[in-house]
């Protein structure tokens, strides 16, 4: 184990952010107020699809306190379409609907008023003359040539249709003794932050500067706003010193920000838009993948899984968004933790008249893991083999790393069998099996769920050039600046907002470790975007690796300078010096103290080595490890690091009521070297809660008229503390060879395997009745109905 070798890393330390949040002293968009600030409320479409003939806003504009009504036509004439990353120039998207609405809830126009309440009053006075059009909700139906395209100019509903064959799929299928096929569907759900998206923009004409405060988690946010508003990049100043009340992917806010930026410039006033919950759920960036998998899997009598064919059809909603790329990330772990020799992957993304799909925790990995783990259970059942034994047989062994998977990524490191053994011991697996049988004897339905999966981490964007050859992006960097002031204290700058990941704790811990300074004494600041170095924000489970890496490297650069000053001062070679707790010790016992070093660097240029610049500052811009090539032959190294998790749980339910009760939940988690244990555990607990939601409760469901049924927490049900059991985390550490401390990502942990595991437990409980639940979420009503159909 590596824990002992660090002073601050991997030690139980309270996250520094906790203090302000627990005390209610965070600074969120809703806490910001600017003089003469105006408020925006968007008008939501009632139709799933309609042609807009005209908008009469005269009554709204006549109301006191109403300043303006912005229509899609006005906006489209003034701003560039929002970027989507695919080559679909005719799938154009603006913040407000132009000529046509494509989903219920889409913003038709926006009122600007002196208060949000006035703006909402004015919305009711706007008359939209619209002609309803045919609409389509189902992804398979959208694929049919007979279906009307959501974007007629695009000619079809197809956004992405890519077939990959990695390895000898046909040969492996021919050689395999058995194959089986099945379908599973991942319901449309999300991460649902406590704080909805908010943005405040203020235009200063004298400086030609647009200041923006926004609750974002969005790569290249400032660039995208500048492009859309036709402003130079240095005319957008995004303030990163705001707190973001939760995200996990859904705080993108480009359309909101372009709208508000445009209005702020047009009217010369500060303008704020904060989504209410209805707007967030029906038209924010709230919806995650909705995906149907058709899988055929080839295997031998002894349980060896040879090959897999996977067709993944994703319902992207009305515009391209990030949905198609969420079919791309799973390519980096398309075989899960298993030795599967070849894979055929058909990725399809279609437009429908539903809300636009955006990035959600795991970026498509959790649905794919659910499909792979369902496949393993199906194979075990087919062969009459123990599910655990089947997995253990197919798992990649620790002596096989680095392990090259068919789609071109090397898995860095792992010891999957060891993690599973630890979990089985911690859970007392034989006792768990006995308890399941006892529950069954007592008339309950009881099942055990297991799931093994990977968390690709480190976040490069190789799926973009893989799915879109005209995209040549291989750079995916993160940066950190460090300065030691004239009084000897250390300040680090990070160049992004945080939505609960604890980046201040991350950077202070890492720098404390490198500089051997108490992290409590290190200050972390967040400058605005114009004072920042480039970065790609916290996506793709990357910040422990990337921001932690950049901070460590910046610290090492500073340390190298300190050593050079010390060597010069003491008149000895650097290799005869040792850095210790901020001081430098010579082999002969002389000590060059931190305070002396600060004095020299800040005030005694004459005592610095010849040619050395004064001051004590450094920075680092770090490229993602292993991210050094574009795809070749449809293969690419995607993420550098692969965390492993293994879930084991026991569920029971009354056969008539059907309400699952999770008795015990154990997860084995290996994300390499842990930087802050509390943050990693928190991510994992929350991830499992989120996964329980995806498995049992959460869905953005539509009725047959294309209306979203779950627009508030009345119907969009998330697990509460009552539904989430006590969770036992079993830790294991296999350091990554690619990162400064061996750390891997953990921001998606728990969520990536929990839906598969919970689904497996319920299916185990009903397997004796010949029932397979093939769609998430599995509602209690569906459980009871299925059992009743089999037993009555």
């Amino acid at each position: 184990m590596t824990e002992q070798k660090y002073k601050f890393l991997s030690t139980p330390r309270r996250p520094v952010e906790d203090r302000r949040f627990v005390a209610g002293r965070g600074k969120f968009i809703a806490d910001l107020d600017r003089p003469n600030m105006l408020h925006v409320a968007p008008l939501a479409s009632h139709h799933a699809a309609a042609v807009i003939n005209g908008i009469d806003a005269s009554a709204a504009l006549a109301m006191p306190g109403v300043v303006d009504v912005i229509t899609g036509a006005e906006l489209a004439a003034a701003v560039q379409p929002l970027m989507n990353g695919l080559n679909t120039p005719n799938v154009r998207r603006f913040p407000l609907a132009v000529d046509r609405v494509r989903y219920a809830g889409e913003w038709v126009c926006a009122v600007v008023a002196e208060s949000r309440a006035l703006a909402e009053d004015a919305l009711e006075k706007i008359i939209v003359d619209a002609t309803p059009q045919p609409f389509i909700l189902d992804a398979e139906a959208a694929l049919l040539e007979t279906s009307a395209p959501v974007h007629p100019e695009h000619g079809s509903n197809l956004l992405l249709d890519r077939k990959f064959v990695w390895g000898p799929v046909d040969d492996d299928f021919d050689a395999a003794a058995h194959s089986l096929s099945f379908s599973v569907t991942w319901g449309r759900n999300s991460t649902v932050p406590i704080e909805t998206f908010g943005v405040l923009a203020e235009w200063n004409g004298w400086d030609q500067m647009l200041d923006i405060w926004a609750s974002i988690q969005m790569p290249k946010y400032a660039d995208q706003i500048a492009r859309s508003l036709d402003l130079p990049g240095n005319a957008i100043r995004v303030h990163y010193d705001v707190d973001v009340g939760g995200s996990y992917g859904v705080k993108r806010g480009i359309k909101h920000s372009v709208l508000v930026g445009y209005v702020a410039r047009k009217l010369g006033c500060p303008v704020r838009l904060i989504e209410d919950r209805l707007e967030n759920m029906r038209a924010g960036d709230a919806h995650g993948p909705e995906r149907k998998f058709d899988i055929t899997i080839a295997f031998d009598q002894d349980g060896t899984v040879r090959s897999m064919k996977m067709r993944a059809l994703d319902n992207a909603g009305a515009y391209a968004g990030r949905a198609p790329f969420q079919l791309g990330k799973p390519i980096s772990a398309i075989v899960g933790p298993y030795q599967i020799n070849s894979v055929a992957y058909h990725a399809l993304s279609v437009t429908t008249n539903k809300t636009v799909q955006e990035a959600v925790r795991g970026f498509g990995q959790a649905p794919t893991n659910y499909a792979i783990e369902t496949a393993m259970d199906r194979v075990a059942k087919y062969l009459g083999m123990d599910r655990l034994a089947l997995r253990q047989k197919n798992l990649i062994r620790k002596d096989q790393f680095p392990y090259l998977i068919p789609s071109g990524s090397y898995y860095d490191s792992g010891d999957y069998h060891a993690v599973i053994d630890k979990v089985l011991a911690a859970a007392d697996y034989p006792a768990m099996l006995a308890e399941r049988d006892r529950l069954r004897d007592a008339g309950m339905m009881a099942g055990i769920g297991i799931a093994a999966c990977l968390e690709p981490s480190g976040g490069n964007s190789s799926f973009e050039p893989l799915l879109n050859q005209s995209n040549q992006t291989s750079t995916w960097m993160e940066s950190c600046q460090v300065n030691i002031d004239a009084l000897g204290k250390l300040t680090a700058r990070i160049h992004t907002t945080s939505s609960g990941q604890g980046h201040e704790t991350l950077v202070s811990t890492v720098l404390g470790e490198v500089m051997q300074i108490d992290p409590e004494l290190i200050r972390i600041t967040r400058p605005n975007s114009l004072e920042s170095l480039p970065g790609n924000s916290p996506v793709g489970s990357r910040m422990a690796i990337m921001l932690g890496g950049a901070a460590a490297r910046a610290g090492e650069k500073l340390k190298a300078k300190i050593m050079a000053i010390a060597a010069h001062r003491l008149g000895v070679a650097i290799d005869q010096l040792r850095y210790e707790g901020g001081d430098v010790l010579a082999h002969d016992g002389r000590r060059f103290t931190w305070d002396e070093m600060v004095e020299l660097a800040h005030r005694q240029y004459h005592n610095l080595p010849d040619g050395m610049d004064p001051g004590l500052a450094s920075f680092d811009i770090m490229q993602v490890p292993t991210g050094d090539a574009l795809p070749v032959d449809d293969k690419v190294q995607m993420y550098p690091c692969y965390s492993f998790e293994f879930h084991l749980l026991l569920v029971s339910f009354d056969p008539i009521i059907g309400r699952p009760d999770i008795h015990s939940y154990v997860i084995g988690h290996d994300c390499g070297t842990v930087i802050n244990p509390a943050i990693v555990s928190g991510m994992t607990y929350g991830g499992i809660a989120h996964g329980i939601g995806a498995a049992l409760f959460e869905e953005f469901a539509y009725d047959t008229n294309g209306q979203l049924l779950t627009q508030s927490f009345l119907d969009y049900l998330m697990p509460s503390s009552h539904e989430v059991p006590a969770i036992q985390i079993v830790k294991h550490c296999t350091p990554s060879p690619h990162t400064v401390f061996g750390q891997k990502g953990s921001g998606e942990s728990g969520y990536l395997g929990a839906p598969a595991a919970v689904s497996a437990a319920i299916n185990d409980a009903v397997s004796g009745l010949g029932i397979h639940f093939e769609k998430l979420p599995i509602r209690m009503s569906a459980i009871s109905d299925a059992i009743a159909a089999k037993t009555s």
């Binding site: 949000r116 309440a117 909402e120 009053d121 209410d276 919950r277 209805l278 008539i656 009521i657 059907g658 309400r659 049992l696 409760f697 469901a701 049924l709 779950t710 508030s712 009345l714 119907d715 049900l717 697990p719 509460s720 009552h722 539904e723 509602r779 209690m780 009503s781 009871s784 109905d785 009743a788």
Partner: protein, 290 residues
Amino acid sequence: MKPVRFDYKRPATIDEACGLLAGDDNARILAGGQSLIPMLSMRLSRPSLLIDIAHIPELTTFVETETHIEIGAMVRQAAAQKSELVKTHIPLLAKALGHVGHPPTRARGTVGGSVAHADPSAEIALVTATLGAEITYRVDGTDEIFDASDFFIGPMLTIAPPTGCLTRLSFAKAPAVCGTGFHEVAPRKSDYALVSAAAQINFAAGSGVTSIHLGIGSVGDFPERLDVNKLCGTPLDDAAIADAVHAAMQMVETVEDLHATAAYRKRVATELAIRALRDARDEISKDLNQ
């Protein structure tokens, strides 16, 4: 999610409240606000005047008479839950209150407000309908009393007079020996119930079971009483209870939504009604065996 503009008045007496209500066709009474305030925010309710009855002292009292317990309309659910009068004399309500929302919503929500609001899944409304509680409204200076058994006629719909103000609920005291049962299922703890069932069996020494009250909630448009009084005088064995409930459920029409099919509601309502009756029976057995 901002309410439409409204006026706000805080009367000191019931008659003042009724006067305000009579003076504005579009006025609404505000009690604990746990349902009304979200409805205002969603603009599902658009009153021109809100009459806040939280500061009318006579609405916040419990009154014990020889035969009844009267609960003022503004008594908070949390206060009712703690009340010894409720625990002793309205044991079914005491059981149901733990299922109503969460501690923070019970701290604000009122017993009367829940009845006036008439959500089909409301536990308190179910208990009043099951027990046939008396619901008193003040209308034009006089009291009108309604039988809760036929007070609820649809989702958020009652036969209450539009210009009346609910002042109190009156429950007959349970006999010394009685049994109660309350069950509900919801996707999550304290969610709006998908199905709920309430039962009370009254017993008198010498004459045995004197009456059986059974009601189900959430399955249709309003809480519904099921007549199983034919069980009176039988040994109340499991089979007889099941038969009586199945028979009574024949006529029940159940609703369907995203969270539960109509078939689920029917199946589970039947089961919960059986379980509630069995619980009530077992309580009596326990009492008698002590």
